[in-house]
């Protein structure tokens, strides 16, 4: 039911409370079927919600089941995608799996052929492949002569270290920038928008080169390449973090400004709260909800960015492993990385969804 827009009248000359209708474009890449916007129930249903706590629990169970199903669907899809990619590569699949530079014996070829069942119909191959994936068997890299999960396991630590450091750095930079500049004077905001614009426009590979040149070659503060200690982490993490921080700051700042222009922010100030208290206690949570739409993008940027950053700084990690595999057409490794990425995505977006239900009570009912 449409509620009559009685609210339209009674406005005065523009005051901060008059928010333009906010237009949020298509929701971001959280899990399918669980975008926050869809989960918001129509307001005004009021009283009934409280009485139906049993209904709420079963709804929560249903919501969790839906999320789980969505996660499984994504993983299944990613596995299928990798399988299709393998099929699409022209030429003998055994040769593809072995890679171009192989000198594998006919014996090895025969083993691969039997394992994947290349002599059988594609559908059976597919079922067999899915079966192996489900049991955790990602196959072996014939180039590197090792099981894929071992290769990934060896490299995972370095990349996780990089990604976590970059995320922490990006969130810190974005928070400081957004909280201090949102809704301030025009000059302050111009500076904020300018740095955000530059940050989101910087290619990470160039940023890495600049930082290397400045801090490693010229000032010699940080090591050039290689070492996996903390000092060697600073520049790569910064390189990965800065463009992300630009985006986060932008979204946070706009979310803060939108929240500060809402009537509840006026109410809070009319209660005697200071401007800063309204920002921290009220507006920041609203701005944080905005970030939910960016989860998918964030995960993708961290993993994708790792490929470039690890290359620039000569670090080992999943990115470097992927790049090497793509260059060598080492298909088992590429397929393994695809599955790993999908898994990480599902894990993180599920966690974020649960977290947001804690922050935004309006999402719980869905």
């Amino acid at each position: 039911m449409k509620t009559p827009a009685k609210a339209v009248t009674g406005k005065a000359v523009p005051t901060p409370a008059e928010v333009a209708p906010s237009e949020t474009s298509a929701a971001g890449a959280t899990l399918p079927g669980t975008t926050p916007a869809e989960a918001v129930i129509a307001p005004g249903k009021g009283e009934k919600a409280g009485k139906a706590s049993k209904g709420r629990r079963s709804r929560a169970v249903r919501a969790f089941a839906r999320r789980l199903a969505a996660g499984i669907a994504v993983l299944y899809g990613a596995a299928t995608l990798a399988f299709i990619a393998l099929q699409l590569i022209p030429g003998d699949p055994v040769a593809t799996l072995l890679g171009p530079a192989t000198t594998a014996s006919e014996e090895v070829r025969e083993r691969i052929r039997a394992e994947f069942g290349f002599d059988r119909p594609v559908l059976l191959q597919y079922v067999g492949y899915l079966g192996r994936v489900v049991t955790g068997d990602l196959g072996s890299s014939y180039q590197l002569q090792r099981p894929v999960w071992q290769l990934i396991g060896d490299q995972l630590g370095a990349t996780v270290q990089l990604a976590v450091a970059a995320t922490v750095l990006a969130v810190l930079i974005a928070l400081v920038s957004a909280v201090t500049t949102a809704g301030r004077r025009r000059g302050v905001r111009a500076v904020a928008t300018a740095w955000e614009l530059v940050a989101v426009s910087l290619p990470s590979y160039w940023l890495g080169i600049l930082l290397l040149t400045a801090f490693s070659f010229q000032l010699q503060i940080f090591p050039v390449v290689g070492a996996q200690d903390l000092a060697a982490l600073v520049l790569p993490a910064l390189t990965l973090a800065l463009p992300i921080a630009g985006v986060l700051a932008q979204v946070l700042r706009e979310g803060l400004e939108a929240a500060l222009a809402q009537p509840f922010a006026i109410t809070a100030r009319a209660r005697g709260l200071s401007q800063t208290a309204v920002r921290l206690r009220h507006a920041l949570r609203h701005a944080a909800v905005q970030l939910a739409t960016l989860t998918g993008w964030l995960v993708g940027t961290l993993l994708g960015g790792a490929v470039l950053v690890e290359t620039v700084f000569g670090r080992s990690g999943i990115g470097a492993l992927t790049l090497q595999a793509v260059g060598n057409k080492d298909m088992p490794v590429v397929m393994g990385v695809v599955l790993l990425s999908a898994f990480v995505f599902v894990l993180i977006s599920t966690a974020v969804d649960l977290l947001y239900a804690v922050i935004d009570p309006r999402l719980r009912a869905g």
Binding site: A27, G77, A82, R186, L212, V251, E254
Partner: protein
């Protein structure tokens, strides 16, 4: 790959305040065009800006710092960096432009099919999009490259495949909003045919925002294209492409900082300019449709 969140669905929140700020920044698109026009000239007619050849090797003059004769210095093979940056504009921009056009076209088609083609089509398209969107864009591009191999055309296609699902999702969302809008219902109440409804009201209003987003998306695609060239998959040396130039010059950073500076600056300047123009178009667009 640093990506502006356009494909994650740029949350466009416009308050009175930010509108005022936008009005105050009305001059910035002019500055952006001032940056972009020379780059476009370089892409269309590099000869107009520099007479030398971008691939002529001159080992005697290798690694010269920027100066009167060589504005941007020379690289390890003695090639004039300014000439190479100028000539690099065309392949770099073409990578971004080609990928964006393909991605937008594909995204529009699939997005509209999903929104207007019934439940089954919607499910089919959006589930595939969900899977692609769950993977990092760069990884999707790399997967395509693994299958098809490197080279300019394949990189264009790879980026398009990586970006199209994002556009498809946006188009679908827009089309659904428009389809449920008051004016489409009003037009239906007048007795318009479904085909007229779609052609006259739904398509133009659903695709309008896409074209604006594509402007910002072009910047993202440019970064991705140059990034893949930097990794060695796109344009191959000695052809001058900004990403490939960075890759070539990487080993000489210690002695010749200028090799790393100028090609990257060209990418960044282009992307900033495009973003400024795209955003001002976007703010004009959101103001037009309340």
């Amino acid at each position: 790959m640093s990506v502006t969140p356009v494909l994650a669905g740029l949350p466009v929140r416009t308050s009175v305040r930010s509108r005022l700020a936008l009005a105050a920044r009305r001059r910035s698109p002019v500055v952006a065009w001032a940056v972009l026009v020379p780059i476009l000239v370089a892409a269309l007619a590099p000869e107009a800006l520099t007479a030398s050849s971008p691939i002529t090797i001159d080992p005697v003059n290798a690694l010269l710092p920027p100066g009167g004769e060589h504005w941007f210095g020379t690289d390890q093979l003695g090639r004039d960096l300014f000439t190479r940056v100028v000539h690099g504009a065309r392949p770099s921009l073409l990578l971004g432009l080609g990928a964006t056009c393909l991605a937008v076209a594909g995204g529009a088609v699939f997005g509209l099919v999903a929104a207007l083609g019934g439940r089954a089509a919607d499910q089919a398209v959006m589930r595939v999009a969900d899977i692609l969107l769950s993977l990092p864009q760069l990884l999707v591009a790399l997967l395509v490259i693994t299958v098809l191999g490197g080279g300019t055309a394949n990189v264009v296609l790879a980026i398009a495949v990586a970006f199209a699902p994002g556009y498809a999702r946006i188009v679908r969302a827009e089309a659904l909003v428009v389809r449920r809008s008051g004016y489409v219902e009003a037009a239906r109440g007048l007795g318009l045919r479904r085909s007229t409804l779609i052609a006259r009201h739904i398509l133009p209003n659903a695709l309008g925002p896409l074209l604006v987003l594509a402007t910002v998306g072009f910047g993202t695609a440019l970064i991705a294209g140059s990034g893949l060239s930097f990794l060695g998959f796109g344009t191959q040396p000695p052809a001058p492409e900004w990403g490939a130039m960075l890759s070539e010059g990487r080993d000489f950073l210690q002695t010749a900082w200028w090799i790393g500076l100028f090609p990257g600056a060209a990418v960044t300047a282009t992307v900033i300019a495009v973003n400024v123009i795209g955003r001002s178009a976007q703010s004009r667009f959101t103001r037009r449709t309340p």
